[in-house]
């Protein structure tokens, strides 16, 4: 297996506040890697830093053998890293199809129809709502749309920030099922941030635990699940 993404010694700041303290992290091709941690630990910041905003102050980010630490945000997205940012951020006044079209910025027009068909396979709900305005979709549908929009660019690496936020357990299951399906069938590499640590660790091959901007633990998904510290900190009352 070759490496898709590797971060070494990455730090990031918001003004004077240090949000990431020397992150070392790797994602192999075809893996699902999850990032868990308390609120404010820096999970979203880590994803944003990979995308170039905020920029890493020190350390390097290597993606498919290329150093992208200093690349502009839109260039990084063009290298087939898809990022579905925290809080869905769909375009509310644009239709579902227009939203998907915006996701396809970097693919050739010929691929567009194929990608669209794939998304409808994955989320049949979206097909029914194709002409509806994004803002009028339900929360779960919006999340599906956000994921589908990110996938429209035929990414090599998909980064999802809390896709289960505010969704009913059944919908969460559906979305996690879709992620697993994409990973198995298309070999998509996924970096996943989740509050729902139990579900995420069961889905992922490997996981990292982030505390106060630094990684304190890492290991296989099942292995992390079994650790007592994890159980105490992230799984109590969870499931």
């Amino acid at each position: 297996m070759s490496t898709m993404l590797s971060l070494s010694g990455v730090t990031a700041f918001y003004g004077q506040i240090q949000a990431l303290r020397g992150i070392d992290l790797t994602v192999e091709k075809g893996e699902i890697v999850t990032l868990i941690g308390a609120n404010g630990a820096g999970k979203s910041t880590l994803m944003m830093t990979i995308c170039g905003n905020p920029r890493a102050r020190t350390g390097s980010i290597i993606y498919q053998g290329e150093d992208i630490t200093q690349c502009a945000m839109h260039d990084i997205a063009r290298k087939r890293i898809a990022h579905a940012p925290e809080g869905r951020r769909i375009f509310p006044r644009m239709s579902v199809e227009e939203n998907l079209l915006m996701g396809a910025q970097v693919v050739k027009f010929a691929d567009y129809d194929k990608q669209l068909a794939l998304m409808f396979d994955l989320f049949p709900r979206l097909k029914e709502r194709i002409n509806q305005r994004g803002g009028t979709l339900s929360g779960g549908e919006q999340q599906m749309l956000a994921i589908a929009r990110a996938l429209m660019s035929k990414p090599d690496l998909l980064m999802l920030d809390e896709p289960s936020l505010g969704l009913a357990p059944l919908v969460v299951k559906q979305i996690f099922g879709a992620i697993r399906q994409l990973n198995r069938e298309l070999g998509l590499t996924v970096l996943l941030v989740e509050q729902n640590a139990y579900q995420a660790l069961r889905l992922a091959h490997r996981g990292y635990v982030l505390v106060n901007g630094a990684i304190t633990m890492q290991g296989g998904g099942a292995e992390l699940l079994a650790r007592p510290e994890i159980k105490a900190a992230y799984l109590e009352g969870g499931h």
Binding site: H74, A77, R89, F91, R93, M94, E98, M102, I130, N131
Partner: protein, 435 residues
């Protein structure tokens, strides 16, 4: 929102109407007694109070009747279901209003015996339609609040005026240049404000508009300052001018007809009509291209745009540049129409008027903007004879607007893509023409 309305008996409705309309009647009476009922007459030795009971009664009855009509209309609307009602209205509006307006606009100057005044008014309204459509690109599509749009209008106008004054360029030579210069200034404005949004952007653009005007005012050696620039040439028709003297080289002389100021006005009218349509056509086209879609996406969510690989900087700059370009075209036209320009024509009130047209029209809607320009510019000018009532009508229009269409005349947005109809869109676009 459910479409089901609980059945209400006729008696209940009647009582409700009576109560409501009665309340309005009392209110109207209270307001109208001092305004209409009493009247001060100038008298030989001072003032005398007069009474106008008949007029007062008419006013109150009118108010009550109007209220009843509003109630009936509202009930009907609720009955049909708001969403369905709106969709039907918009669909029919789009279907009939657009071709009607377009037909009216094409034929207006050709109406036999029409006074020059009306054609000239048409030119004025059409100028604002074009400015509205141009600003709509920046405000309506890209969502960048620009309070200094008049700057580009001024750049366009002065580009032509100066080139004509110093180098004897003609209108048709300067038209593209004016657009180009304005677009360059659009980029100049765009760079410093790339990181600004909302209120802050509004303030900086406002300042930009003032800066341009002040520079023009104070650079007296170049622009003539507050005295302005005179003798800007009118456009020529394939080399023929519109001098009223007739003879060789004039329009009337060439076609063997009597010279008439209407010929020039009509010509100007069709030029600005064409320029406005061009603005609209380009906007509609761009909305269906990646650039225009990126504008709209930018309006919706900048962070999402970034993570999807949209170059936000270029997107903003192109929006400013293209919006400014149409402002420049309009400015060039303004200069050739007026013959004379001075900084007084480019004050903040112009920016505010154009912005009001865009907002009133329902930001992002082409038809709405055109209607708003007619309402904001055309109707006040027509009412000049009744100028004491102008503010009254304006206030009335605003109140009606707030009640009926709080989000602008045409607040719905048609998707720029629809599944399975993508092949049809280009032909549809042509037949729509007007938006």
């Amino acid at each position: 929102m459910s479409d089901a309305v609980p059945a209400v008996s006729g008696r209940d409705t009647l009582i409700r109407y009576l109560r409501d309309a009665g309340g309005v009647g009392i209110l109207a009476l209270a307001i109208f007694v001092p305004f209409i009922g009493l009247r001060l007459h100038g008298h030989m030795n001072g003032l005398a109070l007069g009474y106008r009971p008949k007029l007062l009664a008419i006013g109150v009855v009118l108010a009550v009747l109007a209220r009843v009509l509003v109630l009936i209309w509202q009930d009907r609307r609720v009955h049909q279901g708001r969403a369905a009602w709106r969709a039907a209205r918009i669909a029919s509006a789009g279907k009939y209003v657009t071709p009607l307006l377009l037909g009216f606009a094409v034929l207006l100057p050709l109406v036999p015996g029409i006074a020059n005044f009306y054609i000239d008014l048409g030119v004025l309204v059409m100028t604002y339609v074009m400015l509205g459509w141009g600003l709509n690109i920046v405000v309506g599509l890209a969502g960048l609040l620009d309070l200094g749009y008049v700057a580009f209008y001024a750049v366009g106008a002065y580009s032509f005026a100066l080139l004509a004054h110093y180098y004897h360029f003609t209108f048709w030579e300067c038209l593209p240049l004016s657009g180009l210069f304005a677009a360059l200034w659009g980029v100049c404005l765009g760079f410093p404000v790339l990181r600004l949004r909302g209120d802050y952007l509004a303030i900086v653009t406002l300042a930009f508009g003032e800066i341009i005007r002040l520079v023009i005012t104070n650079w007296i050696s170049l622009t003539g300052g507050p005295n302005g620039i005179y003798n800007i040439p009118h456009p020529t028709f394939f080399g023929l001018n519109f001098n009223l003297g007739g003879g060789a080289g004039t329009f009337s002389g060439f076609f063997g007809i009597d010279p008439d100021p209407k010929q020039l006005t009509t010509y100007l009218y069709y030029i600005i009509f064409f320029l406005a349509l061009l603005t609209n056509w380009v906007t509609l086209r761009l909305r269906r291209l990646p650039m225009g879609r990126a504008w709209e996406a930018l309006r919706e969510d900048e962070i999402a745009c970034r993570s999807l690989g949209i170059n936000v900087r270029n997107t903003k700059l192109t929006a400013f540049a293209i919006g400014a370009m149409f402002g420049g075209f309009a400015g060039c036209f303004f200069a050739t129409r007026q013959n004379f320009i001075s900084p007084d024509s480019f004050t903040f009130i112009e920016s505010a008027t154009v912005l009001a047209i865009v907002v009133l029209g329902g930001a992002g809607s082409q038809l709405g903007v055109a209607l708003a320009a007619v309402v904001m510019i055309g109707i006040p000018a027509l009412l000049q004879d009744l100028s004491i009532y102008r503010m009254l009508f304006f206030g009335l229009a605003l109140v009606i607007m707030m009640v009926v269409r709080p989000r602008g005349f045409v607040s719905t947005r048609t998707p720029s893509i629809a599944l399975g109809r993508r092949k049809l869109i280009s032909s549809e676009l042509i037949s729509e023409g007007h938006g």
